[in-house]
């Protein structure tokens, strides 16, 4: 049945098939080996990390964290513990990784003098040098790792390197550098709000707002200054910050933004004005209503629900009675529901003018069990 094995006489396609199948077979065994060794390595690393963490926490608790400042730690005791941790650090990369991670998490969780002790220990262990190397790395994710360390340890010695990284080509590196700089003693903290040209994603904005939350709010600038930026994501970020820090002096600048050409920006401005209860914006919001898209119209109605006034209520009631689109009716009903009963009595809704849909909407917002998720 079988011909003698003369592979030289095989057609090319059969020869290729033969070679590929042998290669595939060899690669199957290699892959199985990798799976096995990956398992072993992961298990070993996990064990080493757990053991390292135990040692580090024990040493820190026993010899350092019970003192209010490093000066209080007896010199010999301090020397012993630093030497021990340095020795272990030199022996293993895993230990260094865990040591950095543990000190960073302590620095985040602890405050006051204890935080200063942690930061000083970080320097004594020369982990700062590792961080500096990371900042100089060519790999973007290593740079970000370094920037995180600088940010959490408040390493002011690295400011110049961090400033260099604010000009990095990678947006993620730049944003991490901005976040680090916000927490360091730098005069260029908010320069990025003027300079950044690329779109900041929502994730970037969250990183930056988080960094700002960690500093004294008196140090924060007036974010209205940046509302004229040509970078829409910077405008959005600043509006979020204005809202977060309740910077009421920004209301007039926000009102000017109501004529911004970008639909998303206008939507956010409308929302912000409502959340800031900016009653001076009431008239402009009402005037703006006919010119806006459906989404922005619903947002105007919801914002007027925040600016509780008789004019708003009359406007909302009118839209609720005359509105045709469900989203308009829904937003108007939701907004009307936020008004106090006494005010609502002044603008009664004639139920004979309402259809079934409108009646259901009123009942919907009067039902306390439906309140989850509404404004």
């Amino acid at each position: 049945m079988f011909h003698p094995f003369h592979w030289q006489q095989y057609p090319v396609i059969i020869m290729i098939a033969l070679v590929v199948s042998f290669l595939a077979l060899a690669m199957i065994f290699v892959t199985l080996g990798i799976i096995y060794f990956h398992r072993i390595k992961t298990e070993d690393t996990n064990e080493e990390e757990a053991a390292s963490e135990l040692i580090i926490i024990e040493e820190l608790n026993k010899h350092i964290l019970r003192y209010d400042s490093l000066n209080e730690v007896p010199e010999k005791e301090l020397l012993n513990v630093i030497n021990k941790l340095t020795r272990l650090k030199q022996k293993s990369l895993v230990f260094t990784k865990v040591l950095t991670r543990t000190l960073m998490s302590f620095s985040i969780l602890l405050t006051g003098t204890i935080q200063l002790v942690i930061n000083a220990t970080y320097n004594l262990l020369k982990l700062q040098e590792d961080t500096f190397k990371k900042l100089k790395s060519k790999l973007w994710f290593v740079k970000i790792e370094g920037l995180r360390e600088v940010q959490e340890i408040n390493d002011n010695d690295s400011i110049s390197q961090v400033i260099t990284l604010t000009k990095d080509n990678n947006i993620n590196v730049r944003v991490s550098a901005y976040a680090a700089l916000i927490q360091l003693d730098s005069k260029e903290k908010y320069k990025f709000l003027d300079d950044e040209q690329e779109t900041l994603t929502l994730w970037h904005q969250i990183i930056l707002t988080n960094a700002m939350e960690k500093i004294d709010s008196n140090e924060l600038p007036d974010f209205k200054r940046y509302l004229g930026s040509t970078n829409n994501s910077i405008v959005l970020l600043c509006m979020k910050l204005i809202l977060h820090y309740n910077q009421l002096n920004a209301v007039s600048s926000l009102i000017k933004l109501l004529s911004h050409k970008d639909d998303e920006i206008r939507c956010f401005v409308i929302q912000a004005l409502g959340k800031l209860n900016a009653d001076e914006a009431e008239q402009q919001l009402i005037e703006r209503y006919p010119k806006e898209s459906l989404g922005n119209k619903t947002q105007i109605l919801l914002s007027l629900g925040n600016i509780i006034s008789l004019i708003s209520l009359k406007f909302l009631t009118d839209k609720f009675i005359r509105g045709e689109h469900f989203d308009i009716l829904k937003s108007a009903a939701e907004a009307i529901n936020t008004f106090p009963q006494e005010l609502k009595k002044l603008v009664p809704i004639d139920s004979t003018l309402l259809d079934e849909k409108q009646i259901t909407l009123i009942k919907h917002y009067e039902e306390p069990l439906n309140l989850y998720g509404s404004i």
Partner: protein
């Protein structure tokens, strides 16, 4: 006769060979793309501070939608896992699709539900909604239960959920799914870190058949022990970790599973919602969303992440398995037929020029050609024309490559994170990969052909009922 012989020789000796080589080459490429994407994801993920995200007020809120039809055995476990998700703001919408068992009564009793006046607006047409319930227990204020008339499809029930959803994103899942508590935060990540608009994201789904489940949580992940679930686990790993990650890396993904997908509600509604006629409503929806984005010249992305966030019970009974696979196959054929205008249409960019042709040539056509090849082999054997030496080499060629691809996906799965506590479970999967082409693949092939046959002959196919074993019963066994 001679002409037919020559023609068939040419087709099966040359064309099919090159076709197979192209499939293998594409699998090889997918493996490389997937590895690159997994590496990129891991690098980014290591730097991602999920705690920071969870405390942020700026995250988009999410509606979790889960349709249920006669799911009395699993409903409470599934719902518990949805309500326990870790995310700043979300609601859970459970759609009782006219169940004839005690699904609704169990919900009413367990969650202290009462009927409420709810402004339900039918943006997408569905079967009538009878009543809407909310819980009187403040601990379950996130829960909305919709009771509607049966629509004979998951699509109809999902659409009712979309109509009731109040948040801009929605997660579509099934009540037999056990979700990881970080599902929402991980799936929302692509939506907030991409500069282009992300319209859908998905993650890997795994098999829960042999897992230990307690109070809606996966207590211990075990590799399936039964025949069919074991091979389905392997198939899922290959599809999710290798295939979809690769397609995602080039923004050419055509499918985000119905069991776990986060969607942009606005785009879903504009695209018309789920198609209740389709048997592959998840794939069909993504296709329609992509077409909508291209038609309106909007930049977008569909993303996948290499994380296992959802565990679902798969059929362990051959009859239910057959029905599921036939349905999937018919669903694929339907989607390709519904949107045939996309094929090789430059307007749809990579979706029209690569994804669609690939799915037609290598997903839909492959079972038909494979079947043709088997028939041809039989014909050659009967007529004594077969060259056994070449036949075995070719068989070994295809076999070794397919085993390599499957084992590579097991490796990728291990790289993304260790799921099984024992090494032996991973090697059981590898062993299954060796047996798969002989014992499991023929079944899949047969049911794919059956699905195509149902599509071509327009034969009626019912959704059927997935008989659940449920977790309580299984826990007792364990």
């Amino acid at each position: 006769m001679e002409a037919f012989k020559e023609w068939s020789h040419f087709i099966f000796n040359n064309a099919i060979y090159y076709y197979s080589v192209t499939i293998m080459f594409s699998y090889g490429l997918l493996a490389l793309f997937s590895l690159r994407e997994i590496k990129k994801y891991k690098q980014k993920d290591n730097l991602f501070d999920y705690q920071l995200l969870l405390s942020s007020p700026y995250l988009p809120s999410i509606s979790v939608i889960a349709p249920a039809f006669n799911e009395g055995k699993v409903i409470l476990n599934g719902l518990q896992s949805f309500l326990s998700l870790s995310y700043p703001k979300f609601e859970v919408i459970l759609v009782n699709d006219g169940s004839t068992d005690d699904t609704l009564q169990q919900l009413i009793d367990e969650y202290e539900l009462v009927k409420v006046d709810f402004a339900y607006h039918e943006v997408i047409k569905t079967q009538p909604v009878k009543q809407i319930f909310k819980s009187t227990n403040p601990a379950y204020s996130k829960l909305v239960v919709i009771d509607k008339e049966n629509g004979n499809s998951k699509a109809d029930a999902s659409n009712a959920g979309i109509n009731a959803a109040i948040y801009p994103l929605f997660l579509c899942t099934d009540v037999d799914c056990i979700l990881h508590k970080d599902t929402l935060i991980k799936l929302v990540k692509p939506f907030i870190e991409e500069q282009d608009r992300v319209i859908a994201s998905g993650a890997a789904i795994r098999i829960s058949n042999s897992c230990e489940v307690k109070n809606g949580y996966i207590k211990k992940v075990n590799a399936p022990r039964q025949f069919l679930p074991l091979f389905q686990e392997l198939e899922y790993i290959r599809a999710f970790i290798l295939g979809r990650m690769a397609w995602s890396s080039i923004n050419a993904l055509m499918l985000v599973s119905g069991g776990l997908g986060l969607f942009d509600k606005d785009i879903v509604i504009k695209a018309g919602g789920y198609n209740h006629v389709s048997f592959g409503e998840d794939m069909e929806l993504i296709s329609r969303m992509r077409i909508y984005m291209h038609d309106h010249k909007l930049k977008y992305k569909v993303r996948y992440i290499p994380e296992s966030l959802c565990w679902t019970e798969v059929p362990s009974d051959i009859k239910i398995f057959a029905r599921q696979r036939t349905r999937w196959s018919k669903g694929l054929a339907q989607t390709l037929w519904f949107h045939k205008k996309v094929t090789f249409n430059p307007k749809y960019k990579i979706f029209g020029l690569l994804t669609f042709p690939y799915f037609i040539l290598f997903e839909w056509l492959a079972p038909l050609l494979e079947f043709g090849g088997i028939i041809y082999y039989i014909y050659l054997i009967i007529t004594g024309q077969i060259n056994w030496e070449f036949a075995i080499i070719l068989l070994q060629f295809v076999y070794s490559f397919s085993v390599l691809i499957t084992i590579t996906s097991v490796l990728y799965d291990e790289i993304t994170g260790i799921k099984y506590s024992k090494k032996s479970e991973v090697f059981r999967l590898c062993l299954a990969a060796v047996a798969e082409p002989f014992v499991y693949h023929p079944l899949v092939l047969f049911f794919s052909l059956r699905g195509d046959w149902f599509f071509i002959t327009n034969k009626k196919l019912s959704w059927g009922v997935m008989t659940r074993i449920g977790f309580k019963k299984k826990n007792k066994k364990l």
